[in-house]
């Protein structure tokens, strides 16, 4: 059931997007979120959507796969659309039946907001699908470095983040194994009343926590044995390299924003 989930997953590949520096991708996505809010009419939304499709094509991710993985989010998108459709009461009435009436503004708002939502999700998913968790952490660490002056423990945060990311698949495997073991002993998570189901989660959670504690202990010992003493005075094995293409990405975003500002209603 988790197989089709693609949030936060990394899909190794070889495309322009894959080769970019994680810093440029992170800055890009961060600024892109603001750019999305510039759109306020058909023209700007069309430009935005076109740009998103362009980025997806560049990343060489198969579109059916991407959309398939976004199914849980698509539900939210549709939900937003309907909320606006039924609750916004502005402009001309387009459709009226008993107590339901749909207004022109509601339809437009609904489409815009859900489109905005969809574009944001698509863009961030492209980021995680084309950037390995380790390079995301490296990127975050270097980008946050200036905050060290504000006494923010940047190295510790980045280390925790990279360990957490590293152990997500391991813990997922572990969960799956324990789940199977308990299913084999007749535990039943997928049926019964809410109360029964909540109770059925305990045989899964307790072993999972116990093993996470053990794992943390083992890992801490293994790190210490290998001479880890915190961030002070460490050198790096993976060096990030800012290339021309990375500058280009940010320039491209600037151009996009300029065009959108021009067409903005």
């Amino acid at each position: 059931m988790m197989e089709k989930m693609i949030f936060g997953r990394y899909l190794p590949g070889d495309s322009i997007t894959h080769r970019l520096d994680p810093r440029s991708k992170l800055i890009f996505v961060f600024l892109f979120i603001f750019a999305v809010f510039l759109a306020n009419n058909t023209a700007t939304y069309a430009i935005l959507l076109g740009f998103t499709v362009f980025v997806i094509l560049l990343s060489k991710i198969r579109i059916p796969f991407l959309l398939g993985g976004l199914k849980p989010i698509l539900f939210l998108v549709v939900f937003t659309l309907f909320m606006h459709l039924f609750l916004t009461r502005e402009g001309e009435v387009l459709f009226h039946w008993k107590f339901i009436s749909i207004y022109e503004e509601g339809l437009r708002q609904g489409i815009y907001i859900s489109l905005r939502f969809l574009i944001l999700v698509l863009m961030t998913t492209v980021l995680t699908l084309t950037t390995s968790p380790i390079s995301i952490t490296d990127g975050v660490e270097t980008l946050l470095n200036p905050l060290k002056r504000l006494k923010l423990p940047v190295h510790e945060l980045a280390m925790m983040m990279s360990i957490a990311l590293r152990f997500i698949p391991t813990l997922m495997d572990e969960t799956d194994k324990i789940l199977k073991a308990q299913l084999a002993r007749g535990s039943d998570i997928s049926s019964g009343s809410v109360q029964q189901r909540v109770k059925a989660v305990i045989p899964l959670l307790v072993p999972l926590f116990v093993s996470a504690f053990k794992r943390a202990e083992d890992l801490a010992i293994a790190m210490e044995v290998r001479g880890y003493r915190g961030g002070e005075g460490r050198t790096r094995f993976r060096k990030l390299q800012w290339q021309t293409s990375d500058t280009m990405v940010l320039v491209l975003l600037g151009v996009l924003s300029a065009i959108m500002l021009y067409f903005r209603g």
């Binding site: 197989e3 089709k4 899909l11 198969r62 796969f65 398939g68 572990e174 194994k177 324990i178 199977k180 073991a181 308990q182 299913l183 084999a184 002993r185 007749g186 535990s187 039943d188 049926s191 305990i202 045989p203 307790v206 072993p207 116990v210 093993s211």
Partner: protein
Amino acid sequence: MDISFQQVNFAYAPNTPFEKKALHDINTTIKTGSYTAVIGHTGSGKSTLLLHLNGLLKPTEGTVRVGDTLITSETKGKALRNVRRNVGIVFQFPEHQLFEETVEKDIMFGPLNFGIPEEEARARAHELIEMLGLPPDVAHKSPFELSGGQMRRVAIAGVLAFKPSVLILDEPTAGLDPQGRREIMELFERFHKEEGLTTILVTHSMEDAARYAEHVIVMHEGRAVLAGPPEEVLTDADQLAAYRLELPRSVRFQRDFERLVHCRLSTSALTEEKLAEMIAKLAKEAGELK
């Protein structure tokens, strides 16, 4: 409960870029009351195969028949529950599945899930604690206070407690000391005989396969490549080498011995005891000739 696989194919995460084919065209039968060993190199599909035996994984194509129940890609709910009631699995490192406050409660978890009355389940738990050689005061301790070997025994008891008629063991002795290993394997052998269980042992140990199994299935790259009695399967060095496996120790020794003294022993020695017996007999005959 005869178990049979018909043209079973299985892929993890089908129709995604993460798709991984794990089983190809498996056709095999496991007879009621038999002791079957499934051997193969790491990643050959052994564990995937055994998860099909109680519906934890369902074949992408083909059918698995467990007793009267047919498992296909569409089987759900009640039929699976029925299969799980009859098929117990001792997973690798089963001590990771313990969760209850006391050992007694943990052992009773399975039986209670399958609708066995509480009193009966408790009696069974105490019986198993004794049979598995755990100290009697362990029943009211927390499973997390126990040693690794004891935790393993409690977990095994948790599976035996609902009296499955098919018992699947996925490397039950991994990470145990030699003595604990022997004790646990002997215990399964005893259960197999006394309760008439159908036992399926997934293992890396050629010695265990040779000693206990009546039927051996060799897996290689998701295919069941060899099957037969251990006398045949486990004595063919060339074929085993092709599947990155080795002969059992005693068979290896026998071959070296035969080569050095230029004689052939009557049969293949699957265990050290058998080997010793045959050599003793040979020595006696030779002594008499002198």
